[in-house]
Amino acid sequence: MKAAAQKQTAERVGRTINGLLLFILALICVLPFMHMIAKSFSGASAVSAGRITFWPLDATLNTYRYVLQDGLFFSSFKNSVTITLAGTFVALAITTMAAYPLSKQYFRGRKVILMLYVFTMLFYGGMVSIYIFMRSLNLLNTLLSQIIPLALSQYNLFIMKTFFEGIPEPIEESAHIDGAGPIRTLVSIVLPLSLPSLATIALFYAVAYWNSYYHAMLFVTRADVKPLQMYLYELITTAQNLYEVDPVIASGLSGGGMQAAAIVVSTMPILMVYPFVQKYFVKGLTIGSVKG
């Protein structure tokens, strides 16, 4: 009896310590966010003087007013959303269509094609050739020029291929017996079974598209085609000489506050989408689908 009570107390103490530790860890993760959010809502003098901790001082919306100025923010936000949605869709389609045949042992020339993919992983034509290529396709200053270069990642292709290889052959065979052709098999049988890896790869692609600005930097010279990341990046870079450009606005702003606001507005959308995507990270769909 006594021993049981002791065990219970020990368990309670253990749990409390555990809880405390986890709470501290969570706090360590959350505090920088709070600091950033506080900074983005604080007055310029307070941020410049380094007085911000976790709560805004001289609260103001000046920083956001500047970051969200002139509709440029919204047009680039719209561009980023379009690029991310369309890009992820295109990339997923291309990746699965390339990975599926390559996962089949009987596919002739499979090794040579795989080698070609590996080759382009190691060697890259460089920015001059890709620039000239885009120009000759008349794709400069378009959203397509920001979608195409990322539409196939060999790394994701290999993940997908490995996953397809893991799908038991008998399932596909039974589909074949039921009269399904290869495309029907892919769409109706293989893809539904691959949801977990599709979701993972979709997330990889979506994050890559959302964060990319390199190709925009190469191909875009018009303000209305820029993605959000490029808009924010340039906004922060010019914050250094903002006084020269616009002393009126600059007087109510600070470099630190602007950076904070830019980070908040660029991470918010992905943070908000994440919980909804998470539910697709379900594993074990294939378990039990083959019965002896």
Binding site: S48, A49, V220, S251
Partner: protein
């Protein structure tokens, strides 16, 4: 990378070598394509762009280079034959394109279509964009020859401690000592980690990077005066009169320190200096003293007045409408057009008092002409200096700083002998590395890693690392200018 671009560029230019004919008939105005350097506004949706179209009759499509890797991006675009009628770019970019034969000589077009461009821009400015006697670019100089470097001091502390405004290096030291004694926690002089604080350098008798001595230009590192200056700075540091963190300060930390009331004096880097503006905004009731350049032992003082080339407008050989491009730039310099597109309408957007002082009417001025500078190809060099003052007066702080730094310009300003020096290849190549070398050396001397006795050895190192080559090139230009 650059070599590949150069090769591509040559190929494109060969391909585009047919005689250029304006694509559109005389009286029909083509749409012009203008590429400019980065700024954070949408150039096609700005009131200034509309004003320009309204006054010149030209519809213009504007494009911008990215904020990062702008030069590479520009070379790539031009190399792959992207068509622009006007490039409004930095001097470095201009020189790169010029050295690759990518630009069109403008002399003929200027003679035929550019009466304003030739009469309102000084020939001395054109000398910066000429190569072998041919003009390839329309120069835009700094709007006004201005003093951009100074030391600001807090008046209320000077008054409280009954200290006079220092006029010599010795007086400056004793003022800083007195402040340190009264406020031990305060940084007496907060500085940028600059190699040469101009206000103090004046107290040792030199004002520029390249100073004239007996008809020749000598860099300050080679001057015995610079050794004295360095010894003085080291002495200030050792007495705790400079910021102890001088080596690791950044723009942000300096702003933080000055605007949080932790420093007495600060080296201000111009009318847009972030730390000074933050200070003025944080303490609007206090007054700052702008120190005049210090007097040297011979009773002389001076400070550099900057008159540099800001940017260049040029026409690539692949341009479709070069004649219209020149016409367009020329039209923008007509008196009424120019005033309207740069500072707006009198008594609506700006005012002029009886002394000829221009001031903006806020906030409307900012709403309609804030980005006007981005659209300028050049300006009337006799008139614009005064008009431009309206731009410095957009906020109280920037106006105060500009006026403060330039309050005694008539008495002290000295023109930089190398201001009108065109970009010399050797100098441009070595400029950044030599500056970093001096910068690192000065910091090492100040914090005591190196000794001032080693100065000769450093000068030798500097000369070998490209200092001598730069010196020869600059002097060759100086003697034959």
């Amino acid at each position: 990378m650059k070599k590949i671009l150069a090769l591509l560029l040559t190929l494109t230019l060969l391909a585009a070598a047919d005689p250029l004919v304006d694509a559109v008939a005389e009286n029909e105005k083509p749409v012009l394509r203008v590429l400019g350097t980065y700024n954070s506004h949408d150039p096609n949706n700005d009131p200034t762009a509309q004003a320009i179209e309204e006054k010149t009759g030209y519809h213009v499509k504007y494009f911008m280079l990215p904020a990062e890797n702008a030069l590479e991006n520009l070379l790539m675009q031009i190399a792959s034959g992207e068509q622009y009628d006007i490039l409004r770019i930095s001097e470095t970019m201009y020189q790169e394109l010029l050295s690759r034969n990518a630009l069109m000589p403008l002399d003929e077009l200027l003679a035929e279509e550019g009466s304003n461009l030739t009469s309102k821009i000084f020939d001395s400015a054109y000398s910066l964009t000429r190569l072998n006697g041919k003009t390839y670019g329309i120069p835009m100089m700094a709007e006004r020859a201005s003093i951009t470097d100074g030391i600001v001091m807090r008046k209320e502390i000077l008054d409280e401690l009954k200290l006079g405004v220092p006029t010599t290096p010795a007086e400056l030291k004793s003022v800083l000592m007195a402040v340190k004694a009264a406020y031990p926690d305060m940084i007496p002089l907060l500085t940028n980690d600059e190699e040469m604080i101009e206000t103090i350098a004046s107290g040792f008798g030199f004002y520029f990077d390249w100073n004239e001595v007996d008809g020749k230009l000598i860099h300050y590192v080679e001057m015995p005066e610079y050794q004295e200056y360095l010894a003085y700075i080291v002495d200030l540091y050792n007495n705790g009169l400079l910021d102890a963190d001088i080596a690791i300060n950044t723009g942000t930390t300096r702003t933080e320190k000055f605007s949080s009331d932790n420093a007495f004096a600060y080296t201000c880097g111009g009318w847009t200096d972030a730390a000074t503006i933050a200070y003025i905004n944080a303490f609007p009731d206090r007054e700052l003293i702008y120190l005049d350049p210090l007097y040297d032992v011979n009773g002389k003082a001076g400070i550099k007045r900057q008159q540099a080339l800001n940017n260049v407008s040029c026409i690539p050989v692949t341009a479709a409408n070069p004649r219209d491009a020149v016409r367009f730039m020329n039209r923008k310099l007509d008196d009424d057009v120019f005033t309207y597109i740069t500072i707006g309408e009198k008594d609506v957007h700006f005012t002029v008092d009886e002394k000829g002082n221009y001031a903006p009417i806020m906030p409307i001025f900012n709403e309609v002409r804030n980005n006007a500078w981005w659209y300028l190809n050049s300006f009337d060099m006799t008139k614009y200096g005064d008009m431009w003052m309206a731009r410095t007066r957009r906020t109280k702080a920037t106006g105060l700083i500009y006026d403060g730094l330039n309050q005694h310009a008539n008495q002290f300003a000295v023109d930089n002998p190398t201001d009108l020096c065109p970009t010399l290849e050797v100098v441009a190549q070595n400029k950044a590395s030599l500056a970093t070398m001096i910068h690192d050396y000065v910091l090492q001397i100040i914090v005591g890693v190196k000794n001032i006795e080693d100065h000769e050895a450093f000068v030798q190192e500097w000369l070998e690392a490209g200092g001598q080559a730069s010196k020869d090139a600059i002097n060759e230009w100086y003697l034959n200018r």
